[in-house]
Symmetry: C2
Subunit: 330 residues, 2 copies
């Protein structure tokens, strides 16, 4: 099955993005209200969070939640998947998922936004552009951006806890979902990877180091997106594990596809700064060449789909999303 045979990918993505944007606006409104009188940090938060982007992490979170809820509904027909304040759970397209699922999902994008804001700071990558726009610190200054990034971490964790409550998750699920978010945001998550990334300038990594780097950098939070959704939906260990493997595989596929895009597009098209290759970092393309890098990305997608299949998770949205991460533009 190719992306083309999934009939609604584009409308699905557009619709999911719209609901994620609404959730992010709610999150930013809350931060604004709490930072009343100190608009510098609040506006830096808004700039960093409401900056477009694919919103892949929250969309994956909702897709995982949906896939696991449907499964539970099928297996336990008497169960009640409707959440307080939300509509009924409908198959796959996710049109009428409860608002609280998007609030939960938005917590992952808040962590992602924090990591980008801090990555772009002068003492890290010193980036001027992100998605074709000036980076947050270029607009709102270094101090406000550093603060805003750090504020997003507790705000995201709080939001995850609250959303789990609103969804009526069992208490242990609320804690487990929040813990998964925190793990991916902390020492064991992307931070380690970003750091290796910075150290990697001017160094050459081998294939193993590069995989390890990207597993932590992109993979930890992508995998957490799926795990958080699965836990909140009450999925069993086997399905949580399958969705985590799916997440790690598409995270790696995503990073390889990024390297391929970097190697085949110029800065104007990308709307961002000189690529890793220009900074003399190891990339999948520099390591394997374009054709082999592409093959490896596709192999990761196959692995992701295999993980779903093994656990009996049949979710056209997740299947299409796996292909999307390597076939997308930026």
């Amino acid at each position: 099955m190719s992306t083309g045979t999934f009939p609604g990918l584009e409308p699905y993505l557009a619709q999911e993005r719209a609901r994620v944007e609404e959730a992010l606006e709610r999150a930013v409104d809350r931060v604004r209200a709490r930072l009343e009188g100190h608009p510098e940090i609040a506006e830096a938060v808004a700039h960093g969070v409401l900056s477009g982007g694919k919103r892949l992490r929250p969309i994956l979170c909702v897709a995982a939640w949906t896939a696991c809820r449907e499964r539970i509904e099928v297996e336990l027909p008497g169960s009640e998947p409707r959440a307080p304040g939300g509509g009924p759970v409908e198959p796959t397209t996710g049109t009428s998922q409860p608002t609280a699922v998007y609030d939960l999902a938005s917590s992952l994008e808040m962590i992602h936004a924090y990591s980008l804001m801090h990555d772009d700071l002068p003492c890290m990558d010193d980036a001027e552009l992100r998605r074709g726009r000036p980076t947050t610190h270029r607009v709102h200054g270094e101090a406000a951006t550093m603060r805003a990034g750090a504020v997003l971490i507790p705000e995201a964790a709080r939001r995850a806890l609250t959303a789990c409550e609103a969804l009526g998750c069992p208490e242990t699920s609320a804690r487990a979902a929040t813990r998964a978010l925190l793990e991916a945001s902390g020492a064991g998550g992307m931070v380690g990877g970003q750091w290796i990334d910075l150290l990697g300038e001017g160094q050459s990594f081998g294939a193993e180091e590069l995989d390890g780097l990207h597993r932590r950098k992109t993979g930890a939070l992508l995998a957490a997106s799926l795990v958080v959704g699965a836990i909140a939906a009450g999925a069993d260990e086997a399905r949580r594990g399958a969705l985590e493997r799916y997440g790690r595989a598409i995270g790696l596929a995503f990073q390889i596809a990024d390297d391929v895009l970097d190697a085949t597009a110029d800065a104007e098209t990308l709307g961002k700064n000189p690529s890793d290759a220009a900074l003399d970092k190891s990339t999948y393309v520099s390591l394997y060449g374009l054709a082999e890098a592409r093959r490896r990305a596709r192999a990761q997608v196959d692995q992701a789909l295999g993980a779903l299949d093994d656990a009996g998770v049949h979710a056209p949205a997740l299947e299409a999303l796996a292909r999307y991460v390597v076939e997308r533009g930026r």
Copy 2:
């Protein structure tokens, strides 16, 4: 009752600090293990966290937990205050509180450490000294310090969740305690206050702005220390509220005492950077003069003690700690 009539303040503080240090070392060990191969961030975490200091926030957290557990024990003699892996709960001195209470309490010090590390960075206060030692970024660099600070936030929240589990807290208490920690670490907490603080350079604040500033800057996390301890102990709303009022009052007293210390000691004695007065910030001393500032600090201590009394919380440790915050050196 003066501090002198609380027989064991110094031994009590020494003993509590020792247990807090052990808990912080456990926390740092965990971060080190997870950042294996990336010692720069791990060492910045260790530098920022294991840097001495009064450990007032975790000590207050344990004292609040102890006071509320004792009360519950008295009121419900059949209840079981012993925590998994911990010894019996003994009165006030806290010698044999379970290890997990110190783990919970250490989460507040981790947030405090993050805030100091980020405050000292060049884009904020650009401080060279903290407690007589070079600041973390002077030793480990800006990038590692920024990362290390941000890593401490999810690590602290994770630790609070885990410690509540180990204490056998009711599920809702674990979430509520963690949420209180997150609230004080986020947009509604100290960050807003620190920001006003920075803006305050070269400005003059009135009494009201200054109180508002310090309530957020120092008060939010100090109050949270007590609230987290109280919630984890299963305290009712009235006692939680009383401990929060106590925390806000001693937070303000602490800050006034800091201004008094700044005005009466030189940089060498303080082991830190030029005082706020030297940076032309408003202080309680510049606003009220030394004698009135001291009177106001004592009035806050009285208010703190009144809050405990109103709620029937009789805890010599908390009473002595309230006096300690204004009578201490640095």
